[in-house]
Amino acid sequence: MAIRSRKSKSDYGSIYRGHEGQWSWILHRITGVAVILFLFAHVVDTAAVGWGPEAYDRITAAYDNPIVRVLELGLVVAVLYHSLNGLKITLIDFFPRLVTRIRGISIAFTAVFVLTLIPTAWIMLGQAWDLARR
């Protein structure tokens, strides 16, 4: 009667179907790591000013590239998400009563995130497009 299939240890089974808080937590971690990785590059390019303004200009010229501009939009997405979600977490940390309204709060924060992102993406992708055409 039993259908038996043997699988290796690497089969972890199903993903835990958790609350949306689980996914916002995972995104918070991913965007956090993404932002800190950018920070390393940022420290390097800013340190270039130590060799004079020409060196700084030469290094930052690498950003005048449509692909980098699109990546920069990704950075804005990460920073925006991480900071807004951080505010959300702080809010419910200080006001435990809000915990019962977490779904509404999550929807509101997602709305603010998306609404802020639309004009930002419009402007940044426009600049990337201009660079690509040149």
Binding site: I3, K7, D11, G18, H19, G21, W25
Partner: protein, 252 residues
Amino acid sequence: MVTAAEVLDSSDQERPTTDTIPLTVRVRRFNPEVSEDSWWDEWTVRCDPLERLVEVLHQIKWHHDGTLSFRRSCAHGICGSDAMLINGRNQLACKVLAQDVSPRVTIEPIRGLSVLKDLIVDMEPFMDGYRSILPYLISDSGEPEKERRQSPEDRHRYDDTTKCILCAACTTSCPVFWGDDGYVGPAAIVNAHRFIFDSRDEAGRERMKILSEKTGVFRCRTTFNCTDACPRGIEVTKAIQEVKRAILFERF
């Protein structure tokens, strides 16, 4: 002398077969005496739509494969023995109906605790966390002549967290607990909350000291998986947040 199994057997036969539904049960099995790896077994059984999953597991164990191992005791959602990862969510097998998971259900042991056999996990690390928060009334102001009186309002303050049955559904739904077994986990914090906010208890400060450590409440990342998983409907995350706040402001 009729055994319990025979009584249940006969009730199986008496049941009309017309309104039964098919249910494929997929179980993640593990037996260290057979294999180091876990494997999946699948059975298709017919059951009453209103039958609970724990009864379906009984049917499999009693009629198809006696080696299938799982914990259960009261089978009515009170003892907290049969918490399992059912279709990707921690639930009590005795509170899930066959009709709600039909035609197919996947059952795995709860995560973050080591599996001993099939759906049985080692609950000791979970109980260690529970014991660490001193889950009993501490009062040094002497034995009262009669009972320790409490107003209805004071009793209401911690009512939600008295409902815990220590099934570990919350703690083993917590991503932080999966990654760090040093974390006391939601269940321990719920039980600490039950005494911290009890007006008769005098060791709140001591418990808050334990919970303000690295392994305590501030490991919580408010993913809300625990609140979702609790079969008793305890607002676990809210309780944790209240303990966090109490530690921050020492208002309790």
